[in-house]
């Protein structure tokens, strides 16, 4: 168990030796996972950060390497590996999303930028305290108190947090600050977590039945339904930027004179030039192809490649789409259309 004050102390102590990333509210009230200087920066009462914590592992803009071509020579310097970090306050849907991203950046070709951060980051999960109208993680088999994927999982119970050590990394973190955690009231904490879990399970306003959806959608590539969805879409890409499992990126040039660097920036399959060839040929030239690609990625392709769902039911795209395209409605429609 750990009290709120002790948790704040923990974060303050961690800041001394680590980069500590936590939900922070900016001056417009937008919550995103940001490096904090003190525990006072944390938006303790956040519900769902608008930008998911993938931004730590796959930053919106990330320098990959620098180069210098002075004097006709070529020197390429990779950026130094990431240091130790702690990401605090990751909700269960986002924990699952990190698990969905891991195999993308691992594999035959290992992405050292992502994997270094994963290896050197301790993930502190935080159980949800409420279910938002867009939330449907439960349809993906996630409970809003699940700690799977966290190194240390916290659940607010009364005026304290019930802390579960789930991995050696989580254990090392607790062992570094034994004076901040106590064993007293653990049983009460466990029961409190169970009660919260039951309470939250009854709060879901959205539920989808995913049975047979992948199989059905796999037969729908040529279906006119995508045209219908595309008609509404304005191609803004907000769904992809805020999606915790979207990982598409561009590598862009950032140079001045002989020196420069290459930056990896989030990109979106909703943009026309994403797949545009130099020849002007474009395999996904209209919104229909792009919308179809996004939903097939979420509901089929990711699963086909990695055996993990490409959606975690976090509800961000549902809440933020300016024209109310709703993946839960799309899932329901897929089951209905001929």
């Amino acid at each position: 168990m750990i009290t709120r004050d002790q948790l704040a102390t923990l974060l303050d102590r961690l800041v001394e030796k680590n980069k500590v990333i936590a939900p922070v509210s900016d001056n417009r009230g937008v919550v995103r996972y940001t490096a904090i200087r003190t525990a006072g920066d944390v938006a303790w009462e956040f519900d769902r950060a608008k930008v998911p914590p993938k931004s730590h592992f796959l930053p919106q803009t990330e320098e990959l390497y620098c180069y210098d071509t002075t004097g006709g020579e070529l020197r390429i310097e990779p950026v130094p590996a990431a240091g130790r970090a702690v990401v605090f306050g990751v909700h269960p849907c986002d924990l699952r999303a990190i698990a969905a991203l891991d195999p993308v950046f691992d594999g035959v070709f290992k992405d050292v930028y992502y994997l270094d951060k994963r290896e050197r980051t301790v993930v502190v999960g935080l159980a949800c305290k409420q279910v938002l109208p867009g939330c449907f993680c439960r349809s993906y088999g996630i409970e809003p108190t699940d700690g799977e994927g966290a190194d240390l999982m916290l659940t607010e119970v009364g005026d304290r947090y019930y802390a579960e050590i789930l991995t050696p990394k989580g254990e090392a973190l607790v062992r570094e600050f034994p004076e901040l955690f106590s064993d007293g009231g653990v049983e009460e904490g466990r029961r409190g977590k169970e009660a919260l879990s039951r309470e939250l399970a009854g709060q879901f306003q959205r539920e989808v039945d995913l049975t047979g959806v992948k199989e059905k959608v796999d037969t729908m590539f040529e279906h006119p339904y995508w045209q219908e969805v595309a008609r509404k879409c304005i191609g803004c890409g907000i769904c992809t930027y805020l999606c915790p499992t979207c990982h598409c990126f561009d590598i862009i040039e950032n140079h001045s004179g002989h020196r420069g660097s290459r930056l990896r920036c989030w990109d979106s399959c909703m943009f026309t030039d994403f797949t545009l060839h130099t020849s002007s040929h474009n395999p996904r030239s209209t919104k229909k192809e792009r919308v179809r690609n996004r939903f097939l990625h979420k509901l089929s392709y990711h699963n086909e490649r990695y055996g993990l769902a490409g959606c975690v039911g976090c509800g961000r795209c549902v809440a933020e789409c300016p024209v109310n395209i709703d993946i839960t409605k799309i899932i329901a429609d897929i089951k209905e259309v001929d």
Partner: protein
């Protein structure tokens, strides 16, 4: 292999030689600046590499030299976009970055003991050349049957690898080359006409034979019709697919066709696979 430690980091390389192919296509012969990288580099015919022009960006190209040539890599590149314009502005001695190799390459083991027909259009001969030279190499020649190459371009100027196509390959034992250009020219003594029509005219028998194609989509479309008539089997027809790529390692998300990434599972597919893919390329 190439850069395995950090798959996104280009390795410095130098243009040793620029061989003009057509008015807007050059072959760039390059070596890695680190001799150890050069010595350890291994690729298969038909694999790709990401070329970096510092100040311009990166783009993916097929390696047009045969892997049996261990001293350098060649890339045959048309001046077309931002990166290729920057490349074409460089001279011999110019510095570029290379990372790779990427993609599956041609499954040449499956072609052993068989006759192989290559059908290429324009700069589409570049990836085919890596396999043709590989098969014609002394150490591999006995593994393969007759090599036939049917190659066409818009004009005689647009023919790439002229020395090989018109002089060297036709002289090699058990190797036949047919060349055609789209429209008649005064100095051109060879065949005139489109590749698919010439294919039907030449009429190589398809039975037991492998066909490997690369060229503009319209050429591929009609060549496939011709090959079927000649008795080629779908599982023995290979083609390369081209999609925009940024990473080359299955992560940036733009070269997918359905759940397949062309940079990983491609760029070479057989016709059975191509027919199973969603038509989005």
């Amino acid at each position: 292999m190439g850069n395995v430690e950090n798959c996104l980091l280009p390795l410095p390389a130098t243009i040793q030689k620029i061989i003009p192919e057509t008015s807007d296509v050059n072959t760039y012969r390059v070596t890695f600046d680190d001799p150890e990288v050069m010595a350890n580099w291994r690729n298969k015919p038909g694999q790709l590499a990401m070329i970096s022009l510092f100040g311009a960006g990166e783009a993916m190209f097929s390696i047009s030299s045969s892997p049996t040539q261990r001293d350098y890599l060649e890339f045959t590149i048309r001046k077309a976009g931002v990166v290729t314009k920057a490349l074409h502005s460089l001279e011999e001695g110019g510095k570029i970055g290379i990372r790779g190799p990427y993609g599956n390459g041609f499954p040449f083991d499956l072609m052993k003991g068989r006759d192989v027909l290559f059908v290429g259009g324009g700069i589409g001969l570049a990836p085919l050349r890596s396999l043709i030279e590989f098969m014609l190499d002394d150490q591999n020649r006995a593994d393969f049957g007759k090599i036939e190459v049917l190659y066409g371009a818009r004009s005689s100027d647009d023919l790439c690898f002229k020395q090989a196509v018109l002089e060297d390959w036709p002289k090699r034992p058990n190797c036949e080359v047919w060349t055609t250009i789209d429209r008649a020219e005064d100095a051109w003594k060879g065949h005139v006409g489109f590749v698919p029509a010439y294919l039907e005219e030449v009429g190589p028998k398809g039975e037991g034979k492998v066909a490997v194609l690369c060229g503009p989509p319209i050429m591929i479309k009609f060549v496939l019709v011709g090959l079927e008539k000649l008795g080629f089997k779908d599982e023995m027809i290979y083609s390369t697919l081209e999609l925009r790529m940024k990473c080359g390692v299955g992560k940036c998300g733009r070269c997918n066709i359905g759940h397949k990434f062309v940079c990983l599972e491609g760029p070479v597919f057989d016709l059975v696979q191509i027919k199973e893919l969603p038509p989005e390329f």
